[in-house]
Amino acid sequence: MRARAAILVAIAFALTPPSLGRAARPDADALLRAAYDNWRAKSSTSDITMTVHRPDWERSMEMKAWTRGDEDALVRFVAPAKDAGNATLKTRDETWVFNPKLNQVIKLPASMLAQSWMGSDFSYNDLSKADDILVKYTHRLLSSEKANGHMVYTIEAIPKPDAPVVWGKQIVKVREDGVMLGETYYDQDMKIVRQMVTDRVGPIGGRDYPVVMTMRPVDEPQKWTRIETKSAQFNITLPAYLFTLSNLQNPRD
């Protein structure tokens, strides 16, 4: 009788889904949320240098960026003189650009969102659909490992059925404290299209932050775009006018 009970318990244990069996494993959704909060917090302002590398040339641009929540973002280029004044505003569903030479605000048509942003390896979609991975994908923890005194989690993000997304799949590496370590982008055929790697993690704005990140298109090894965050502040109060069209055209900051 006792033997039978023991077998039953063993079978019940074997049938228990692994996620229940290992309750200590962190939740993939929560990890991605943490990465997003680490990156943008409730609000943020940052000074960033973007370096675009091509086989025959390389150029760097300085920009200032503001974000509010998951949806609003404003990026204004400050240097070099040739680029200064160009700005991109992303609100809930719309992306707008301002060009100082035209002195005009232009709403980006959906057909142009896949185009390169300021000549970099990022597209307007990276800006306008930045929070897609949180809401339009389902997440699954693939593996976890210890590296440099931190737990690093690998999360697979698959688009929800019929979600209007850009990628076929994304693989994200996140540290247990929410620092993003890398992101791999797959197309619909599950081929790697490009890879973003965090080159340096450092303290910024009172937290560990992916300070230097490089985006590389996979089929063109001579091309890359590096984003270096020089300073940032998080969870500050930003004026409401910041994410408006009038501020995009006539900056008050």
């Binding site: 675009v52 160009n86 030479k101 232009i106 185009q115 000549g119």
Partner: protein, 406 residues
Amino acid sequence: MLAALAWRNIWRQPHRTVLSLSSIALAGTITIFLLALQQGAYGTMKENVLHLIDGFAQIQPRGYASDPDLRKTIAKPGALMAKLDALPAVTASAPRATTYVILSNGTRSYGAAVFGVDPAREIGISNLGTTITNGRYLKPEDKGVVVVGTGLARNLKLAIGDKLTMLGSARDGTVAADVLGVAGIFSTGAPELDRQVVEMPLVRFQSDFAAEDRANTIAVSGQRLADIQASLRALGELAQKHGLVVRDWTELEPALHDVILLDASFSILLYVSLIVIVVFIILNTLLMSVLERTHEFGMLMAIGMRPAQIGRMVWLELLFLAGVGTTIGITLGVGITSWVARVGLPFPGAEALFSQWHMPSTLYPQIDLTSALAGPMAIALSIVVAGIVPYVRVRRLQPVSAMRAA
């Protein structure tokens, strides 16, 4: 001797022979005419589509076709064009620079392809300028103006003289922005062109997009598409010397090429059935005459003619029929086709269908050695081969039983 006999034999039944000859001649004439008409239609179709914007062939940087990047350029296109123009087949060459931009008018904005063109050279390649419905085409002295397609003009609510803002990415990675006046609105009838294309002066394009003295492609044209096709080799060698490649019309308009191939393979089916029917008619007639003449063949054998000789005689009769028939067919076919090629064949009511491929509703057959000989030769050859059937039949005849046959 056999030939004389055979020739006399076929005229022993003049009605039957005339009928046989007419069916061969008619089939020959029809195949010549249809083939020439088809080639003419394909030719017009190709040239009209290519005249819109592509040109008959293009010189491009390597890999430009699969990834048309503004940065893949031809430096100093002028030098290369001078060499291209020197080729006997080339009547015109024109440099183009292309990229995708955002065009906007007030609160409306659309993505479009902008072509920087040299207006003076462009008119030798593209007849886009002749499809202007409003305003005018670009002029060599133009600076900050564009011509836009009618669909795009409608979407952006543009009229002649309106200002259009253009925002894109320059070759050096900076933002390219410009305000351009609308000089003309074109309507090619090709929706994708009318909705997505604008043309501006190349010089302005080059300064807007930091691409001084550079082009992305060079389009070339000739008197006829065939002239350019024949000199693709020379074009390729020239391109290679500059580290570039040449792309012919089948690569520039693959969809049109496929449509033509599909249509041609359907019509080959039609020609083959026509030829098969004619061959069976002739064969039937000949078998009848062999059957009728069984008694006569028995007599011939009885007086010493060998079955093989009789077989050859019958085959010769067939050869004469095929030869005379196709000769008449070729003469008639080439004559009629050449005449129609001069006056044209109107298809009233087919304008809408034809305009889809930028074709006029009057077609001109295009006769050459292939269209003149392919059909009749196929008929003649099939008849000669089919003649083996009566030949074999005659060789099996026995003199006595043959003479007893009815």
